[in-house]
């Protein structure tokens, strides 16, 4: 493992080491490094490649022999994609409707946790009050609560409201149609908070305290410190959390099935799961479905990549 990790120096724009030996070693490590990363990339991609190739093979071929036979006996069809994209059921319309639902569900379900987590993490890292650490630990520990155990109580909360000893504290939400999306956002936001706060808190707590202290001495409010000092520095952390929250919501099936309220509001995942057929015998369609659904998360990943910027803290005093 240590041979592979020596690439910190071996990066292309690193300075050329002064000695001949150094130069030789640099070339070597650079080569092992490339080799190892290539192997990892291959191992991680080949299974997916197999499915990509399968997605353009005819059903009977997929089911009777391995995908690598495509190279010796290429049989090409777009039928799987046709079925995924255009095979619509009378009630629910085409794929486009599900696509819109996925977007409507995902965007707020990423934005709300992002903001709430950033604010809460800031409070836990940079304000001083008694019991702060215990609140943080408590929130951290909530990560372990399995989503499944929260479904029934949360659903009751929406449908029955909250009553204590016969007294109705909160009414039932009584939402209908597109308004049901609110419950999905609510559920996703709840479930995202512990991990999000944990991630962002860790990142924020590592920021040099002098920055914040100096600003406070100058009389800046917390709102100002948060906006102008902290926020720009945590952009990479926010970007990574946004990517993952996006993924989880986009690929979520369970929360959507319970809270979205029927096929009209169902996201893409519901449709994809359905594509396998009534008895799961049409699984060849899933090969194409997997690639149709991956496009959006991959785009999000690539577009958020540029927020992983180097050296935001350059020049600041560290710890």
């Amino acid at each position: 493992m240590s041979t592979g990790t020596e690439t910190v120096l071996a990066a292309p724009d690193a300075e050329v080491p002064p000695t001949v030996a150094g130069r030789v070693r640099k070339k070597l490590t650079s080569r092992t490094a490339s080799a190892i990363s290539l192997v990892i990339a291959l191992l991680w991609t080949v299974p997916t490649l197999g499915v990509l190739i399968s997605s353009i093979r005819p059903e009977n071929e997929i089911k009777s022999n391995g995908w690598w036979n495509f190279f010796s006996n290429p049989q090409f069809t777009l039928e799987n994609y046709e079925q995924v994209l255009f095979g619509s059921r009378s009630a629910s319309g085409g794929l486009a409707g599900y696509f819109v639902n996925s977007l409507v569900i995902t965007i707020p379900s990423v934005l709300f946790p992002l903001a709430f987590c950033a604010l809460a993490a800031y409070a836990l890292a940079w304000t001083r009050f008694r019991g702060r650490d215990w609140i943080y630990i408590g929130i951290f520990a909530l990560q372990i609560v399995p989503l499944q155990m929260a479904l029934i109580p949360l659903l009751s909360f929406f449908n029955y409201g909250v009553s204590l000893g016969g007294f109705q504290l909160l009414p039932a939400w009584d939402l209908d149609g597109p308004a049901k999306f609110i419950t999905v956002w609510f559920a996703h936001t709840c479930f995202a908070l512990p991990l999000g706060i944990f991630l962002l808190h860790n990142f924020m707590a590592e920021l040099p305290g002098d920055l914040v202290e100096a600003a406070r001495v100058d009389g800046a409010t917390h709102a100002k410190i948060f906006r102008s000092i902290i926020l720009p520095l945590i952009v990479p952390a926010l970007a990574s959390f946004a990517i993952f929250q996006f993924l989880w919501v986009w690929n979520d099936l369970l929360v959507a099935l319970i809270f979205a309220g029927g096929p009209k509001n169902a996201p893409l995942t519901v449709r994809l799961a359905e594509l396998a057929g009534n008895r799961g015998n049409e699984w060849q369609r899933l090969t194409a479905a997997a690639f149709v659904s991956i496009i959006v998360p991959l785009t999000v990943f690539l577009s958020l990549q540029r927020y992983f910027v180097r050296g935001l803290l350059a020049g600041s005093v560290k710890g």
């Binding site: 059903e59 009378s90 029934i152 009751s156 799961a273 359905e274 594509l275 009534n278 008895r279």
Partner: protein, 448 residues
């Protein structure tokens, strides 16, 4: 730079707002559905009055193409009466229905494939008893054998909907013809045929019990079918209701008889591997070697007709067909193992009851059967409307007054056994655990 980006964002969101507002104003709400019961083409539905404009939600495990066919089948009814049926199918039906019902988000109607689950909701006070009209319709169209499974403590909660027959053995008619084999009429003939196949170098049986989180169920069907044949329906009923223990000698005997086929390396697993390959092969793939002529016989329900590769001719003179799993002891009658769904209601509005009644009618059964790949135990189902040859045989068996019908036992048992330990136990049994240890384990998990 930052302010520039902000301005761009602002302009963009402004444009979106504008577009959406325009769209929202432009979209008129759809006209409220009005019934047209007085027109001649709606004469069949004239009794279903006063439900125009109402919405009935249905939750069901049936999805994809078959869900579309259901919707097509009741389209005429919905158009005539003006009722709006919102259908939702889910692969996670059983677990989701429990969550929804308890969370206060129950559908109006649910198609429940497990009488045990129906009982669970009925006893929990969640299900509404069938209305008078539904009850009358169900009693008219279904045999007491079937109605019993929709009844809890003497009250009818759900009328049966679709059905399937599990006592089928799939084979390849063309291979049988080629080799000069004939369809066995008794259990002993079937075993003799198996031996012949072994001599001919073809493994006689193939099976697959993989089914994701329900892995094991096809093996439970085997036990049920054989128990029904060895001991008859009365012992079967006692076993299902736990009047006799799960590890009773009679169950041991039935399990061992299944073992003489499924755990016999000489007999299985044609075209797939050895005995243990049964455990890792999905039930969808389990019978496919039959059409590849690498396996002689595959015991699976009528719905397996949909699993064959494209282009397979499913017919008595085709590539695949099925015969009735023969009786062991003719004195015990002609037992039939099967399954199906029951339409339970969580609300009792007139519209819900009307739809529930309609779904129990012969009219619906025929309307759905005409669209292919579906049968029902509905006595009003005209076999002429069933196109698929295996479905014709299945309807014949269901309507045969000499046959004794029993519902899939694992769907009747408490879920702790029927949807958990029975599956687990049978999977381990295939994988090497002996019969006694297996049945003792299942007995030990029966809820006290």
């Amino acid at each position: 730079m930052a302010s520039h980006r902000q301005r761009r964002l602002l302009a963009f969101s402004g444009a979106v707002v504008l577009a959406l507002t325009v769209a929202a104003c432009g979209g008129t709400s759809e006209p409220t559905a009005e019934g047209k019961l007085d027109t001649p083409e709606c004469a069949a539905y004239k009794d279903y009055t006063g439900i125009a404009g109402e919405t009935v939600t249905i939750y069901s495990p049936i999805r994809d193409a078959e869900a579309g066919l259901l919707e097509d089948a009741w389209k005429a009814f919905a158009d005539c009466t003006g009722v709006k049926i919102e259908y939702e199918g889910s692969g996670e039906f059983e677990a989701q229905l429990k969550v929804r019902v308890e969370g206060g988000d129950a559908p109006d109607l649910a198609f429940i494939p497990q009488p045990g689950l129906l009982e669970f909701f009925a006893k929990g006070g969640k299900l509404k008893a069938a209305g008078e009209k539904t009850k009358a319709m169900a009693t008219q169209n279904f045999s007491p054998d079937w109605l019993k499974y929709g009844t809890v403590n003497g009250t009818l909660y759900g009328a049966p909907l679709g059905a399937n027959v599990k006592s089928f053995v799939w084979y390849s008619p063309s291979l049988f013809k080629e080799k000069g084999w004939t369809v066995p009429g008794t259990w002993d003939e079937m075993i003799a045929l198996s031996e012949k196949m072994v001599t001919a170098g073809i493994k006689p049986w193939c099976a697959g019990i993989g089914s994701q989180d329900a892995t094991g169920w096809p093996a439970t069907d085997w036990i049920e079918d054989v128990l029904l044949r060895e001991q008859g329906p009365d012992v079967y009923d006692q076993w299902v209701t736990h009047a006799i223990p799960f590890n009773d000698p009679r169950i041991v005997s039935a399990t061992d008889r299944v073992g003489s086929i499924l755990k016999n390396e000489k007999y299985v697993n044609g075209g797939i591997g050895g005995v243990k390959s049964i455990a890792t092969t999905t039930f969808q793939d389990g019978g496919l070697p039959v059409v590849q002529k690498k396996c002689g016989m595959h015991r699976q329900a009528s719905f397996y007709a949909n699993q064959w590769p494209k282009g397979t001719k499913v017919a008595e003179d085709g590539d695949a067909f099925a015969f009735y799993l023969p009786a062991i002891d003719p004195a015990k009658g002609k037992p039939v193992l099967g399954g199906g769904e029951f339409v339970g209601a969580f609300t009792d509005s007139p519209a819900t009851q009307a739809v529930q009644t309609y779904l129990a009618s012969a009219d619906f059964a025929n309307s759905r059967a005409k669209l292919n790949n579906w049968i029902s135990a509905n006595k009003g189902l005209d076999v002429a409307n069933v196109s698929n040859p295996i479905d014709k045989v299945a309807v014949g068996i269901l309507q045969d007054s000499g046959a004794v019908f029993r519902f899939d036992g694992s769907d009747l048992m408490p879920a702790a056994v029927g949807a958990n330990s029975f599956w687990k136990g049978m999977t381990n049994w295939i994988n090497g655990t002996d019969t006694k240890a297996t049945l003792d384990f299942i007995e030990g998990t029966w809820p006290k």
